[in-house]
Assembly symmetry: C2
Homo-oligomer: 225 residues x 2
Amino acid sequence: MEDSSRIAGPRMRADARRNQGRILAAAREVFAEHGIDAPMATVARRAGVGVATLYRRFPTRDALVRAAFAHQMQTCARALTEALTDPDPWRGFQRLFETVCELQREERGFPAAFVAAFPDSTAGHAQARERTERDLTTLVRRAQAAGALRADFHPSDLVVALLSHCGLVTALPHDSAASRRLVAYLLQSFRAEAAHRPLPPPSALSLRDVPIAADGSQRQRSSRA
Amino acid sequence: MEDSSRIAGPRMRADARRNQGRILAAAREVFAEHGIDAPMATVARRAGVGVATLYRRFPTRDALVRAAFAHQMQTCARALTEALTDPDPWRGFQRLFETVCELQREERGFPAAFVAAFPDSTAGHAQARERTERDLTTLVRRAQAAGALRADFHPSDLVVALLSHCGLVTALPHDSAASRRLVAYLLQSFRAEAAHRPLPPPSALSLRDVPIAADGSQRQRSSRA
DNA sequence: ATGTAAGCGGACGATGCCGTCCACATAGAA
DNA sequence: TTCTATGTGGACGGCATCGTCCGCTTACAT
């Protein structure tokens, strides 16, 4: 599989490059307002280009979605790296979680993209994904070794927490207080001293089999845009 | 606003009543498989009736969705009543939460319906809704008075928790372990003894303004069924 | 200044779903 | 058995979106 969108290379006409930028900006706006299912034509119109241009640059909707939120994805990746280098393991863990949730909260449309892009992403390549998986595990183990994160915490719990937060901000896009509350509750229950009782067994979820493109649907609401 | 679907009354032809049943069963199946956005025609076909019959009985998709999951909604309502009468306030609280989450986990399609129907539902009338709201608050206060539920817990937190759980089971429809884990984490963080640190302010969410039908969209995934 | 390859835009046919309309069927009363 | 109100099915017109095709435009190398 090649890179989803033709990346702005050196051999690209200036106007083409400009349009690519406009398209991505428009996509972010439109996806934020109408969800990632918004008509492609809407994005094109907002960008001030024709549909053909849009399709030439981003052959599929997924490619567009992924490109539009690539920056946020990178921010997530960077946050993970930073978390690993934090001298205080718990603070690293906490910050990662809070940063990702904040991103989901503030960039509307991103949560949907986050969930949608999960299977093959956090950059696109299985290699990057495995790295992410490994780093997450390291982050968890470190925080546990420091006695801050409860011993029965499983790396997949982090994904579970992030996905449920996605769901919340999707259902209540304007209620950042709700999001903050959930984050606070979850973080508290992840602390070692909160481990009063045993937990049920963790999800078998190896980050790799999150929400396959298959099965499709399972939409959140029934109303149309 | 009248009742969404013509209820099976005494003056209904036997075949009509039979068809109504088949439609509801088909709707549950189809919604579970393809999400609540599945084409109406699919439901009709599966039920072995014509589209016209479907539309006559359920003029809008929402009416169908609500009727299809009315039973689950009633189970929720009943669980709330039972929770209030439980001699152990915390156990009542815990059971309510677990029961609703179990329902969301097991009846695929129900989470979406749950979120979608929230604004005007838990029966349909504002009256019933207010009653629900009041009962929830009572449940929370009782559990707090018993010293089991943390004092800074706000009734809206229950909605926040349920909505995030909805999001999780929507993203991972087959992973009940993940759902159970989330429920366990949340319940632990709701306990009074977990209140190590203060929480951010609660959501202004008065159950009434949950996920308005307006705005629309904000779908979870981009792929089509 | 000029030629041309890269880029552009919008019209267009295809597809899929919606919701109605109407000619036909039948349950059940008389 | 007969009659009719109630119920039925599927065809059909309408609409939105998809993604492609092709003739025109323009950046930029020479």
